[in-house]
């Protein structure tokens, strides 16, 4: 019963030592934010699993946690804050598919917060069927001219760079004709409009692209390799979704509400307990998934997390409303708020459970709907036969759409 992972211990020690060194050399209290983050990048503590010289130390990704725990304790700035999409999804994609110049061009500005990133994948006609992207990019000399419409773009109104997939060849089957770009959100022809949602606010945007000129240097990966490149982005999105927001979630909110009120129908106690158990088991599953990933033996519990998360949010806030009773007939405000730099900073700690109840309906749609996640589990984990595909070997231009 002795641990054999001595390597792992050595890695952990190295990361801790380097973090402590960074904090000694650049005391957070007296160091400018950009200067600190720049030093953190140089120390390889931005993404410890990245290559040396590119913000990392070539160590297991799980050790990044050790860095953040210590930086937060010391009150140091956080390089993800306000640029989660750039940090968690943009950077790994650039690293995996960009060339040396692109690594040089994009990684440091992401980490320093000089450039905020957003994602421009979904379209009105390409939701679950993401590869059905119809936004066209046509080569024009050294540039590409883009036209199309994107949707469900969070942060787009305050971002500098957009990760975008566009169709560069409509005459081949749909997965083959896509190319990946990182476009300048301030370029002429890029128009960002807030998209109001059922909660009243506008957390997302629509992005209209009209004759937007994008240099070929902003292409990530080869022409027509866009689908593969986008997978690098999406894999990281699902990790984000499955693990976020577990601090003061629906179960804790419900338990608080339950305890605040003095009497209850017995049915509510039953549901409260059931929900608490589900929440606990989901947390345990996420921990198990993280441990297995860290140990290099990822299991299906990674993919199941997103389904469980959505269900817990939805059923959990339904219970909250039942516990609120007739107050659930009312709402706090349907005024349309847009996402701004300010709202980003003041990240509210207590959101009305009725708003969260409405918001939770999107949890089973965004970032891969529960239906798509079920397909993935059935086909990739259980090895069941794939869906019958009518669009597989047909040029995109001839696939029925609507």
């Amino acid at each position: 019963m002795t641990a054999t992972a001595t390597n792992q211990d050595a890695d952990t020690e190295l990361v801790i030592a380097k973090t402590e060194q960074l904090l000694r050399d650049y005391p957070p209290a007296t160091t400018d934010r950009r200067e600190f983050l720049s030093a953190q990048f140089d120390a390889g503590l931005a993404w410890v699993h990245f290559p040396k010289g590119k913000g990392g130390l070539e160590l297991p990704r799980s050790l990044q946690h050790e860095v953040y725990v210590r930086l937060e304790e010391a009150g140091a700035p956080n390089g993800q804050m306000g640029n989660q999409l750039g940090y968690s999804m943009g950077a790994p994609t650039v690293l995996a598919w960009g060339d040396e110049q692109q690594h040089e061009r994009y990684l440091r500005p992401i980490f320093l917060g000089d450039e905020r990133w957003c994602q421009l994948f979904s379209e009105p006609g390409a939701g679950s069927d993401l590869a059905a992207v119809a936004t066209r990019a046509v080569k024009d000399g050294d540039d590409w001219i883009m036209n199309g419409q994107k949707v469900w773009n969070s942060m787009a109104s305050i971002s500098d760079i957009g990760m975008l997939i566009a169709r560069t060849d409509p005459e081949v089957p749909k997965h083959q004709g896509l190319t990946y770009f990182v476009i300048d959100m301030h370029a002429p022809g890029v128009e960002v409009r807030p998209l109001r949602q059922m909660t009243g606010e506008a957390e997302f945007n629509e992005v209209y692209l009209t004759d937007v000129r994008v240099p070929d240097a902003a292409r990530l990966g080869a022409i027509s390799a866009g689908w593969k490149v986008s997978m690098a982005t999406l894999m990281n999105e699902r990790v984000m979704f499955a693990s976020e927001g577990m601090d003061k979630g629906p179960v804790e909110t419900a338990l608080d509400l339950y305890r605040e009120r003095d009497h209850h129908e017995p049915e509510l106690r039953t549901r409260m307990i059931d929900m608490w158990i589900k929440g606990r088991v989901l947390t345990l599953s996420n921990q198990r998934a993280a441990a297995n990933r860290a140990a290099g033996t990822p299991g299906p519990e990674g993919s199941t997390g997103k389904i469980g998360y959505a269900e817990l949010q939805q059923k959990g806030y339904e219970l909250c409303l039942d516990l609120l009773g007739d107050e659930s007939l009312l709402y706090d405000s349907y005024e349309m708020h847009e996402f701004t730099l300010e709202s980003l900073k003041e990240r509210p700690t207590k959101i009305d459970p009725r708003r969260r109840f409405l918001r939770s309906r999107a949890n089973s749609i965004e970032g891969g709907s529960s239906e798509i996640m079920h397909n993935i589990l059935a086909e990739r984990v259980l090895g069941l036969p794939p869906e019958h595909r009518v669009d597989k070997d047909v040029p995109f231009s001839q696939v029925p759409r609507g």
Binding site: S122, P124, G125, G127, S128, D129, A132, V151, W152, L195, R196, Q197, M198, G200, E265, E267, L268, Q314, L321, D322, G325, D326, E327, S328, L329, L330, Y331, D332, S333, Y334, R354, F357, L358, R361, A362, S364, I365, E366, S369, S370, E371, H374, E387, R389, V390, D391, V394, V399, P400, R401, G402
Partner: protein, 369 residues
Amino acid sequence: MTTTEETEELRRTVRRFLDQRSTEAEVRRLMEDETGYDPAVWKQMAEQIGLQGLAIPEEFGGSGFSYNELRVVFEEMGRALLTAPFFATVALAANALIECGDDDAKKAYLPGIASGETIATLALSEERGGWDDKAVTLQASGSGSDWTLTGGKRFVPDAHVADLILVAARTADGISLFAVEKGAAGLSTEVELTMDLTRKLARVTLDSTPAQLIGTQGQAWNGLRRALRFAAVALAAEQVGGAQKVLDMTVQYSKERFQFGRPLGSFQALKHKMADMLVDIESAKSAAYDAARAVADGDADVELSASVAKAFCSETYFRTAAQGLQLHGGIGFTWEHPIHLYFKRAKSSEFLLGSPVYHRDLVGQALGI
């Protein structure tokens, strides 16, 4: 009992009317409008098709039809998300009057309701909510025919536009019912912001407000409870109508929306979900229609039927709306798509007149367990 054809003719008439007068654009306009209804439409409903008086006895100015017909009207209104004080006036106030055992009050108020002149409502819940006798704590002062009310009521549908507010209050011998008319001294109303903007709920504040006692002092609860259950049956019919509309929208969308080169509706997992919605709604219809029949026939266990219908149809509507929203994908989460209006109506009507949890408990009591 009417034949199916007559009921279906009524349905077609009401649907045709609402298709024109309660369009999505109109519903959205009224959602943002604090008054919350269109007086011209209200008048047409009464004068052209006689909806307000449909189930009011002929001797009190109505047409004397039964709940077998009225439930069709509520079904269609639920389908169209009609934004108007119809539920408050017809399901709550008219039923409370019909069940109050006070012929003078009936004569005084029912004809105005039937003709469309009177908008009315029932004020029961208070600060903490709830729809049973325990919810009523407001104390009336006075005696004989000289009463005043002081206190607050909440979650009162359309009280802000009501000509007549029926108020449940405590008197020496129990719960009594009072009539408070618009403009009465000390009466004020304030619309609250509702999750479901298509049904307005108001706070009512009474400050030594003169009120007319209806029925016998302290003896109102039995009639009120019956009226609340009958209103719950109307609500169940609304829920069934809304749920059917959501299914229709969802089926339609799934035939038109293509993903992976195929209509969404060709994916078996989605087909089975829609089939489940259908099973659920057909069951809810059985519960709602039977409860309406039980009201019409005056069944001895009509209150049980009402609780069954309210509990079952509430959950069917919510499940249907939630599933329908899911099957619409991202578009269903936007403000501009109508499905969230149904979703919110579904959730809110779960609570109105007592949640499924509450009504299931009543069923348990009726079973003696």
